[in-house]
Amino acid sequence: EAVAAASSVADGATGSVEAQRWICVILDVSESMREREDLQPNRLIYCLRVVLKFIQNFFERHPLSQMQLILTANGVATNLSTLSGSVIAHTDALKGVLRQSTNTAPSQSSDTDFSKHILKGVVSLQNALLLALRTLQGGSSLLPGAAAGSLVAGSKEIILIMSSLATQDPANIFTTIEKLRKVSIFAHVFHIGADLYICRYLAERTHGKYCVALSGEHFASELMKIIDTTPVDANRNSAALNFGVRQLPVGFCSPVNVGENGEEKLQRCPKCLTPVEHGFDSRNSEQATDSASPAVATLRVLGSPTALPTNCHICGLLLVKPSHLIRSTLNTRQSATLIASTEDDLDQESCSACGMELLMQSTSTGDLLAPLQTTSDKRTSTVATEKTPASQKCGICQSHFCAACSEMIATTLFFCPCCN
């Protein structure tokens, strides 16, 4: 019963998000990134900060997804980090670049060869794309964290952040773009500066998003939009699309007590019952988000030293936590839309979730928050002077929830427990 199937609904009309996404972020660190006029303190530092924020936000929403960072400048491209789902690995790598770029004098002790190229020359679009292609083309079974045997699951994307107006390519770039298209990789291009034809072509040809940044804020907000939407290629995975649903087999670990007193707790793969020892990613994104969600915290209390998500190293099943699935599939489900109850709903007396009596709340704006807090803390029935419902109801099934439950639905659960 622990093996579930997370469905990622591929619905072209709404532009849903895949449960799993493989993303290569290509960052231009060429000379044009020195530009100080439009982005402060300069383009590179600004972009690095935006990308850092992007990585945080991305993994918060897509805990099952993987990312790789690629840098390009001076006609060459290099991998900054390997494909992984680790926020920390990526942020650390980016911070390294940030340090290098702020050091005016080139540091002798720099560990990578690439540091000498930073902020020099122009990008090499083709080299960078080929690197990304090599990573993404590996076949999803080879990708860490991929669901076993599900080649179709997940979308492969490239995010290109470019500032250079020229590219130095070893060969014909159009063949590379065709290759990307053939393996249905989306390339989103963000150009800081101007509308470059090859970038527009790349994005349009691969059905990616194309954006020329008007300002720093515009760039950041457009980049963040990538998190919520994935373009859907019409001719891609048509067989799977015919069913409307793609299956992503996942497993939920069940903790097993071992040892005499049960002090040692072990998680086992629900399919082959292998103990899960190490996740593929010890520095998982959990700590960034876990504390915020009480539901996950509860799970942790039950005792899970192993970081999830991970693959079972025997059968390859993707082991996840329920919250991962919820977060990953936010857009694929009908996310709960809660609306404030009206006076007509006064006859509803108890919360549909916790069964507590619904409270009436004063409409005076001054102490709007006060009863909310009291209810969430003590759940005692205080008699409000004016009878307006403090509760909210689901926009679909009209179930009523008390303030505490609606807050949880909005921040953690993301769906209505009654109708979904």
């Binding site: 122009v122 020229a166 590219t167 159009f174 500066g193 101007a194 509308d195 090859i198 020329v212 940044a213």
Partner: protein, 881 residues
């Protein structure tokens, strides 16, 4: 889309229309209604051609009567434009047909609609040998050798008579007939014979496929003999008369394919059909060059609507059509021609005196009367002899028909040998004049007077008949290889024009040296920064490579226009750059009923003109003569280009005022190391005077733009690139004009013309020069914005652009975006404006926001005063909101 405009249905093939297209049509309609000519300026890339075609065709459909079957004559500059226009027309006509009934009961106009494109034999010939010859003159000569009446007569004499269609089946079996068929392949053109038979003439040979058509043609010819007026196209079944009922839209290639499949010559077929077709699209030359006009366009009726597209350079086309340039080699070759002719005449005197005598008698009747008669019989009488088209004058009179004196050829040149003597005198005189290494400038009358004195010819009037007389002579002695006789033809043209236009509008000029070299030697114009010291101070004039040119230069553009304007009341000239309005019509001698300059309606500001007057170091930049060799200017121009190369994506096009200046700049930049810096950002391509080199450079340039490497194209404002080649979308995101592209002012031809303009039209020379330079400048910058979704930066890098007299001569669609903050900029302010502009332009276009602003659907059209449905009340202003 179909809508009413002043009560007339207008057919437009697209669902949306630009407001300026609507305005354009409205103006055009008013001009057509007023039976007047008009000059309309509309920015490029706003669908000028389609609005024009749409309006004219709708107007013709509405106003057509049997007496006035209006016709559209559309003149383009290049073959490519002809083809493009044809495609637009095809789309339009397909749309028109969706609104009109096309059944058998439909008006005959609908079923017989015919649109043709005409080009020279070079583009239309399908003859297996002639079409491979390459050069235009050679193909024409080869064609003449196979189709001239005397060639066909000779063939007829040698190979018996015509092979009758009824006999051909029997004779095809015999070896003799097979031999004849082989002979025909080399002596006469089977396609031309196919044409003759298909149009009812008397063919020499018949092809199997054309056999039945010829039989019908013969029967028709017999019928016509009995009653010439009984010719009625309708009474014959369509399959019987494929050529008379021919309908459809034929581009050059389609016409070739169609005619070849029928075994008919496409060139002659097109020319034959021009008289009855509804739309003809061809080059300016067919109408403006009197030599070609007489042959091709003479018979067009005056109710035709004449359109000159891209007319901004029309005055130059008119002038070139009437000017004759002679070099020393031409004169020598002409002398050789005369010797050859003399020989032929003398041999003919011994052999065939009768023919010469016949010519003499014919000339006595009057040369021009005879030609006119020929034309009348060909045009007026519904082509009783289609083969006459091939018997056209070898060299038509270069002067305009109404100037040609309609009288008997003077006695002194009536005899062949005497005429050759006169020609010889002319050549001798030209030889003496061209040998002198001295610049001179004379009026034609003075030139002729001196000629008369020197050669002992008191009366120079006979010279007026030179071309006609030469023509007659060449025909009489049955010359082949007419391309060899071009030099003597040029000399004859020279003489004819000089004596016809003795009074005004022409000038005889002598340039002993190439103009550039001359300037270089005398003024040290060429790279002063590089020549070793003293090298350019004194160059002996004798050391120069002399290529003396004697030019009879036409100064008055209105001369060539006059006949067109006199014949066709409805002449439309249109272009993207006609500003300032009124100037061009004035020079052309037009009195337009309407002159209008339309601005561009845009939802976003997609044109960014920048007037850069100072470099990054605040030094003024200019290509003025005293400043252009200044190193500061060169450095500032280099910095300007470099800065823009850093911020502009993909392609940048630069225009220099001349090749020399460009070469000088490039070499100076190279020494400064600027080119190496530039190459980091963009690749560099340069236009040269070699056409193949330039087209190769263009190809690579476009490839570099495509693949994201970025490129800069350096070209010259009056070169090939500035006129014909579009740098649309990413191929031209920015255009930089280094300096104002003034025409080379030291040229004597130009000076004479300026003088003439001042005297005749009271146009001050500066005014004309500025007008000319600014139209060139706007042509150059117009290369980069070719449509509404396109955008581009236009950098005017010269401090003189800041002056109001220069700026005001830019077309309105540029000036409307030229705000005060875009004037008098330095390099760095200009780049920062450009940066912001480029970012804004990179944003996706919201199509819905355009509708109503820069795109009108039928809803918006119905709100226009001219298109409101009949009887509908005038909407109150508040209601319109």
């Amino acid at each position: 889309m179909r809508f009413l405009m002043d009560g007339m249905w207008v057919y437009f093939p697209y669902a949306y229309i630009y407001p300026e297209q609507y305005q354009y049509m409205l103006q055009l309609k008013r001009a057509l209604d007023a039976n007047g000519s008009c000059a309309l300026e509309m920015p490029t890339g706003t669908g000028k051609t389609i609005s024009l075609l749409s309006m004219v065709l709708s107007w013709i459909l509405a106003n057509r009567t049997p007496d006035h079957p209006y016709k559209l004559i559309y003149c383009c500059r290049t073959i490519g434009e002809v083809e493009k226009t044809m495609e637009e027309l095809r789309r339009l006509w397909a749309h028109v047909l969706t609104h009109l009934s096309t059944g058998p009961d439909a008006p005959s106009f609908v079923n017989q609609f015919l649109a043709l494109a005409l080009a020279s034999r070079k583009s239309l010939c399908v003859h297996p040998v002639a079409s491979t010859l390459g050069k235009r003159a050679v193909i024409d000569a080869k064609c003449h050798d196979m189709t001239a009446p005397h060639v066909r007569d000779k063939f007829r004499r040698e190979h018996g008579a015509i092979i009758h269609p009824d006999d051909i089946e029997d004779s095809a079996a015999t070896p003799a007939a097979a031999d004849i068929m082989r002979q025909t392949a080399s002596h006469v053109c089977s396609y031309f014979e196919g044409y003759v038979s298909a149009t009812g003439g008397d063919p020499l040979i018949l092809q199997q496929s054309a056999k039945s058509a010829a039989r019908r043609a013969r029967s028709r010819a017999e019928k016509k003999e009995t009653d010439p007026d009984a010719m009625d196209v309708d009474e014959l079944a369509p399959e019987d008369q494929p050529l008379h009922n021919l309908s459809g839209i034929f581009s050059l290639e389609e016409m070739k394919a169609f005619a070849e499949s029928k075994g008919i010559c496409p060139y002659f077929l097109t020319r034959y059909l021009i008289q009855r077709c509804d739309v003809v699209i061809y080059s300016y030359q067919y109408l403006l060059n009197p030599r070609i006009h007489q042959i091709v366009s003479q018979q067009l009726k005056s109710d035709a609507i004449v359109v000159f597209d891209e007319a901004h350079n029309m005055d130059n086309v008119c002038i070139e059509a009437l000017s004759v340039k002679l070099t020393r080699t031409t004169v020598e070759a002409a002398a050789k021609n005369v010797r050859a002719l003399n020989q032929q005449v003398s041999t003919m005197k011994q052999k065939d005196v009768e023919r010469l005598n016949a010519e003499y008698r014919r000339l006595l009747r009057g040369l021009n009367l005879q030609i006119a008669g020929n034309n009348n019989s060909a045009g007026g009488n519904n082509n009783n002899d289609p083969a006459a088209l091939a018997a056209e004058p070898l060299r038509a009179n270069p002067a305009l028909p109404d100037e040609v004196v309609n009288e008997v050829i003077p006695e002194s040149i009536r005899k062949a040998s005497e005429f050759l003597g006169v020609l010889d005198k002319v050549i001798q005189y030209l030889r003496t004049r061209i040998g002198v290494k001295q610049v001179f400038q004379e009026s034609p009358s003075f030139f002729l007077k001196k000629f008369g004195e020197a050669m002992g010819m008191a009366d120079t009037k006979p010279l007026r008949f030179c071309t006609g007389r030469l023509n007659s002579l060449l025909k009489t002695i049955e010359i082949t290889n007419i391309d060899k006789y071009q030099p003597i033809g040029l000399v004859a043209d020279f003489a004819t024009l000089a004596s016809t236009y003795e009074k005004e509008g022409f000038m005889v000029l002598m340039e002993p040296y190439e103009p550039y070299e001359f300037a270089l030697a005398t003024r040290g114009l060429g790279s002063p920064l590089h020549t070793p010291q003293g090298a350019n101070t004194q160059i002996n004039a004798s050391e120069l490579t002399t290529n003396p040119r004697l030019e009879l230069s036409c100064l008055d553009a209105s001369i060539a226009m006059k006949s067109v304007l006199a014949k066709f009341p409805r002449v439309v000239i249109t272009s993207g750059t006609l500003s300032p309005p009124g100037m061009l019509p004035r020079i052309l001698g037009m009195k337009p009923a309407l002159t209008q300059s339309l601005s561009m309606s845009l939802q976003r500001t997609s044109v960014c003109p920048l007037v850069v007057t100072r470099g990054s170091d605040q030094t003024p930049i200019s290509t003025k003569f005293d400043m252009r060799s200044n190193l500061d200017v060169a450095r500032n121009y280099a910095t300007l280009l470099l800065e823009f190369a850093k911020i502009v994506p993909d392609g940048i096009v630069c225009f220099f005022p001349s090749y020399q200046f460009m070469e000088m700049m490039v070499s100076v930049w190279n020494e400064m190391g600027m080119l190496n810096k530039l190459i980091k950002y963009k690749l560099l391509f340069v236009e040269t005077e070699d056409l193949t080199e330039t087209s190769l450079a263009l190809q690579s340039y476009k490839k570099a733009c495509d693949s994201g490497r970025g490129a800069v194209f350096l070209s010259v404002a009056r070169g090939k690139v500035s006129e014909g080649i579009d740098f649309d979308n990413h191929y031209g995101r920015c255009v930089i004009l280094f300096g104002i592209p003034f025409v080379y002012t030291e040229s004597r031809t130009l000076k004479a013309r300026l003088e003439f303009l001042r005297q005749k039209f009271q146009i001050h020379e500066n005014e004309f020069l500025t007008f000319d330079a600014m139209r060139m400048a706007s042509q150059c910058v117009g290369r980069v914005v070719r449509g509404k979704s396109d955008y581009g930066i236009m950098v005017f890098a010269d401090k003189r652009y800041n002056r109001i007299d220069k700026r005001s001569k830019l077309p309105q669609w540029i000036t409307q975006f030229l705000g005060p903050n875009q004037l008098n900029l330095s390099t760095d302010t200009a780049t920062s404006i450009a940066k912001t502009f480029l970012k804004e332009m990179g944003q996706p276009i919201d199509r819905d926001a355009q509708i109503g602003v820069s795109l009108w659907s039928e809803v918006e059209i119905l709100q226009q005063p001219a298109s409101r449905p009949f009887g509908a009340p005038m909407p109150a202003p508040s209601m319109r909101m």
